[in-house]
Symmetry: C2
Subunit: 141 residues, 2 copies
DNA sequence: GTGTTATATATAGCTTGCTAATCATATTGG
DNA sequence: CCAATATGATTAGCAAGCTATATATAACAC
């Protein structure tokens, strides 16, 4: 019985996240972005000139993934790359004007998505949910 | 303030699910499977001879995704395809012996993963979490 | 019965992710 | 100073996911 509840949680998490990703992905296409690229841009909005390794850490993904995302975002004109002056191995990533302009529309989409997700869930429940999820996060890392 | 809490929830969900997927993916490689394929097999364990459209619905994904997954699983010898007798458009998917044998090891991995995820979260909290997530699920669909 | 429309699957081409292997540059040890 | 090692990024190749498009078959309309 309790086993079943736990199992539902794993499945539910899976369903919710894949559905969210799908919805969100569709919504981002309006801005000529793919899902995940918004997170990379998010990191840049709080400070340009970051290395790809730093993006790896922030996105919690592997270097080739960042290489691909950066390539795609550069081709679409949202960012540009510049080789570091002191260390020629390092690429530093900067926002273009177009990239900077995405901050507000993306934030609006985030807000919209979280409103949809949390609809009719009470503030106390949200607090509790957040606490439990924090615990789950630390369990995984 | 409350805005911030909500935002954390969206981000947390994203982090948790991507981390879970990553861990799980790595774990499945021991069985020569890729993440997502276990869900397809899961549908077959509760009844063979399903069409690809039915798999689409169960996995909540698009037809080309199922085509690719089925191709990969067939090449690895876990399933086989047979054209329907009455409707020549339809492909029916069946488990091979190898595919059937995966049920227990995969269930073990599920259990292990959910134990890791829910570590130190109390039964009452789990019940509540499940209820809130059910609400979130219905918000999205 | 033939033409049109609907349905099931497949193909092409894209991005996100991964791993394994490669390349270029830095750093460190002798 | 030069060899060995470490580090940052890239490339190749794979699977999950998508969209748009194509193909084959079925069902429906006239």
């Amino acid at each position: 019985m309790e086993e079943k509840v736990d199992c539902d949680i794993r499945e539910l998490l899976d369903k919710i996240s894949s559905r969210m990703r799908r919805d969100y992905s569709e919504s981002l296409r309006e801005l000529d972005l793919y899902v995940g690229q918004d997170n990379l841009l998010h990191r840049l909005w709080s400070g340009d000139g970051v290395t790809q390794m730093q993006l790896c850490e922030h996105l919690n993904c592997e270097p080739p993934t960042v290489t691909n995302m950066v390539k795609s975002l550069e081709q679409n004109g949202f960012i540009y790359r510049k080789r570091d002056q002191k260390d020629a191995r390092v690429m530093r990533i900067y926002l273009t004007e177009e990239g900077k302009e995405l901050e507000k529309p993306i934030e609006a989409k985030w807000r919209k998505q979280q409103e949809k997700l949390l609809n009719s869930i009470l503030p106390e429940e949200r607090m509790l949910l957040r606490r439990i999820m924090k615990q789950m996060e630390s369990n995984l890392f």
